[in-house]
């Protein structure tokens, strides 16, 4: 099964790049432009990794991160920010983010991070690591129970 990635960023260009880059690497990608849509998508469908921008209109990334973790305690979320301050990164990690990505990022770094996140997610659910980047070897993305 193909691993599923959710991307939430209000920047059209960045969203396009992430969607395209991750799709080319073989992942199934859903891209949304705000935190509320990200929550809606996450509740409706299973995702293995979520890329979440910190500053978005309406529901910001850090709040959305908290809600995602409430919906599914083991949600694997990577937080993205253009601020470049460690404060945001620390806050995100304290709220349970898997990792932190500063903009502008390197696409190879994004793909590497996705693989690592998938491996970590597999380890958490007790199955073996995925055999390839785009292959989901565990069932982390089973439909979540809605609180």
């Amino acid at each position: 099964m193909t691993a599923r990635i959710l991307v939430a960023d209000d920047e059209d260009g960045l969203r396009w790049v992430l969607e395209k880059g991750l799709r080319q690497a073989g992942y199934e990608v859903v891209a949304v432009k705000d935190g509320t849509s990200a929550l809606g998508a996450f509740e409706a469908e299973p995702f293995d990794v979520v890329f979440l921008d910190v500053r978005m209109p309406g529901l910001d990334g850090l709040t959305a991160l908290g809600r995602l973790r409430e919906i599914r305690g083991d949600a694997c979320v990577v937080v993205m920010t253009a601020h470049g301050t460690m404060d945001t990164a620390i806050q995100a990690m304290q709220r349970g983010a898997y990792d932190y990505l500063g903009k502008p990022f390197d696409l190879d770094e994004v793909l590497l991070l996705t693989e690592r996140a998938l491996t970590a997610a597999c380890r958490r659910c007790g199955s073996s690591a995925p055999s390839s980047a785009a292959t989901r070897a565990c069932k982390t993305s089973t439909r979540p129970s809605v609180a």
Binding site: G13, G21, G84, T85, F105, L107
Partner: protein, 357 residues
Amino acid sequence: MNFEAVLAGLPDAVIAVDSDLRIIFWNSAAEVLTERSARRAEGRYIKEVFSPDASVVRRLGETLATGESRSEAESVIERADGRRVPVSIITAPLCGRDGQVEAAVVVLRDLSRIHQLEAEVRRGETLAAAGRMAVGLAHEVRNPLGAIRGAVQLLGREIGPDSRLREYTDVLLTEVDRVNRIIEMLLDLARPIQLRAVPLNLHQLLERVTLLNEEGARERGVTMIRRYDPSLPPILGDEDRLLQVFHNLVRNALDAMGRGGRLTLSTRVSLNPLFGKMDLGAGQRSMVEAQVTDEGTGIPAGVRARIFDPFFTTKDKGLGLGLSICHRILEEHRGAIQVESAEGRGTSVTCFLPLAK
């Protein structure tokens, strides 16, 4: 104590003239301010000491003629060597028993220290404002930059590693990264610097800087001269940050000396009346001066006030952030930085840093 002793001890320059504008009193602060001794000034006409159209001469003349006091909040006097010093002027008549004006006195207050302090505060404010702007700018620029970088990488993959178009995507990536580095440097101005201040041997630190710049000096035919005070006690500072400061200053000095010359590094315990002692929170602390002096082109007078502005540079290449960052680092050390320059003769940058004890 007689009045003459009181006047002699005042920190402001006091000069008295008789009704013919001949100097009858010249206190020691006047000697320091004008760099002319009382012995050489007293007995001479004031217009022989200052130029006849100088404010101080004019104001004393008016006071003698009218019996009224005159004042100027901002004026200048010229020293013997032609250097101009900003001063404030207040004159007053001296009357005899019959009420007639017999003489006049002028009090000159040296404003250069106040101007230096004001400039220091202004510099700090400018840099803080630039830093705040950088934080806002960083977010707005990094988002599109991220999209450009990602799109170029995707394009690179489409055209493959062997395509002749690869050169174009490589240039784009390099330049995007350069823009990001510029933003990083600007953000450095805004971020609070976490100093790891420890007692440091300033001379060892300066030697590391000279080692780093030895090759550059050789290439330009520059001789490095050390004038270190061998008894200098340790300073309190962050080694990496201070290396950054002095490396920057030495590189600037070398860049200013395209045709060779001498670059002098000197140290001493400061006797500077303005920055010689600083309050570090637990009382006054003595300061050390570390000076980088070059014999380069000097900084044109017209741009001297802007050299600490972010992105201001006189070089063909360079971002113009070096001195802004130096200023910021010294400020975090509770120190200060001063620049003196003479066009065609060279520049001297003095850093004031606190002693460890």
